[in-house]
């Protein structure tokens, strides 16, 4: 029996569609950010990460620009450009309305990197400057095996290009420590309220405890905001339209 060409075509289409859908569902989710430096690709020691984090927070404090660093072990099914863009948008880098964010993105397995620039910084951190930073600053250090130096100098070059000053680093650098520090206190208060309720004031205690606890929690999370790294995310800008440059080492 002869198979008609249309049948083959339909079958191929179905197969392609199947492959495409499974491939897209295989895409890893966007990684969570943890501060200005998110080192999933293990480029840095904890000390180096802390130093870099301090440098970057100081720059943010002085200039308002939000420049972050992400390293990953591999691209996991995305293209370099797509990955960098999706991360920058999902993290909401840059202040809302100003979109003054940028991301240095490095992947270990593919030995590639990209500088993704938010709309608000495109005038200063242009495509050709981004390309030059990758080619002349980061890549040469990486080739020599100096990962920390490459990342640090690259970030500093991005700072220099984006303009603005460095600022004072906030005193307390403990990440999200504000909320945690309050936990014993909250527990203690909860205990006292619980005991007093049992003494026989009926249901009112529950509500009161709830309100009190609620307000404490709120204050706890606010405390986290004012010190060092602000928990969940960046300024919420995320206005990226694909500016920047890519390179490899």
């Amino acid at each position: 029996m002869r198979i008609r060409p249309t049948t083959i075509r339909v079958a191929t289409c179905c197969l392609l569609a199947l492959i495409c859908t499974t491939a897209s569902s295989n895409e890893q989710p966007i990684p969570q950010n943890d501060g200005w430096v998110t080192d999933l690709g293990d480029f840095l020691t904890p000390q180096q990460e802390t130093m870099l984090e301090a440098l970057m927070e100081s720059y943010r404090a002085g200039s308002g620009h939000e420049i972050a660093l992400l390293t990953v072990p591999d691209l996991g099914g995305r293209t370099l450009e797509r990955y960098a863009l999706e991360v920058s948008r999902a993290w909401g880098l840059g202040e809302k309305g100003r979109n003054n964010g940028a991301l240095l993105f490095v992947t270990r397995a593919e030995r590639k990197m990209r500088i993704e620039v938010g709309r608000g910084l495109e005038g200063n951190l242009t495509d050709s400057i981004s390309g030059r930073i990758i080619r002349n600053v980061v890549a040469p250090e990486f080739k020599r095996g100096h990962l920390y130096e490459g990342l640090r100098d690259g970030i500093q070059a991005m700072h220099a290009a984006a303009g603005g000053d460095y600022g004072r680093i906030p005193r307390s650098r403990g990440r999200r420590s504000g909320g945690l520090g309050l936990m014993p206190m909250i527990f203690f208060i909860w205990l006292i309220f619980g005991l007093s309720r049992r003494r026989g004031r009926g249901r009112g205690g529950g509500l009161l405890t709830g309100m009190f606890l609620g307000s404490m929690m709120m204050r706890g999370s606010h405390g986290g905001h004012s010190t060092g790294w602000h928990g969940g995310g960046f300024g919420g800008g995320g206005g990226f339209s694909g500016g920047g440059a890519s390179g490899s080492w």
Partner: protein, 216 residues
């Protein structure tokens, strides 16, 4: 006795009238608000599509303007492949011929024509950057590298804007055809926006990796 009943009945009738009137008013208000909401959503979705379209157009223009510089720089290198350069110049000229009227594209055929010319230009540039790899003299030329960064930048922006355009047009067209919205759209004359078609080669194909070794 009958008088009392009549008065009572008239009162009930009055209340009934009031309730009916109120209900009609309420339904009317709900309808108006619903229509207003739909209308506003349509407008903002359309604006989003317009914005991504003008981004695509801007980047196309920027690329168009950058090419003469690139060609001049590459020409400066002795014995650079003539055919590659000619292909780029020719593709640029055909883009120049296929201009669209300003504003959102409305004619799918015209849009298709334009996109095809632009994609031809993109492809010829891509080929040229491949050929350039054979010329170390160019790879060390800062001026050329800067131009290459800028052109790659525009390519990437075009890709991003195109994806955004396709997404926003899809959202707009889907919303337009849904039930209560299509009435609003009909009244105010909103029309379907043309979707872009891709060349097979240009479509971003996801890389398929079969990784049987370490399944979770």
């Amino acid at each position: 006795m009958s008088m009392v009943r009549m008065i009572r009945q008239r009162g009930i009738a009055k209340i009934g009238c009031l309730i009916a009137g109120g209900a009609v008013l309420l339904v009317g208000l709900i309808l108006v608000f619903m229509f207003a909401g739909r209308y506003n959503s349509l407008v903002s979705l359309q604006e989003k599509s317009t914005a991504s379209w003008s981004e695509i157009d801007n980047q196309y223009k920027r690329r168009f303007d950058l090419i003469p510089q690139l060609v001049a720089t590459v020409k400066g290198v002795a014995d650079f492949e003539k055919s590659t350069l000619e292909a780029v110049t020719e593709a640029r000229a055909s883009v120049g011929r296929a201009q669209l009227p300003p504003g959102l594209p409305s004619d799918p055929a015209q849009l298709q024509n334009y996109i095809q010319a632009q994609q031809g230009l993109g492809a010829s540039l891509g080929r040229m950057f491949v050929v350039v790899e054979r010329y170390p003299e160019l790879k060390a030329n800062q001026n050329f590298l800067s131009l290459q960064d800028q052109l790659e930048g525009t390519e990437n922006r075009i890709a991003v804007a195109r994806r955004d355009y396709i997404d926003s047009v899809r959202a707009f067209n889907t919303y337009l055809r849904r039930f209560p919205t299509n009435l609003v759209a009909g009244i105010y004359g909103f029309e379907k926006l043309p979707q872009m078609q891709f060349d097979e080669a240009e479509r971003e194909t996801p890389k398929v990796e079969f990784d049987f070794g370490n399944d979770p």
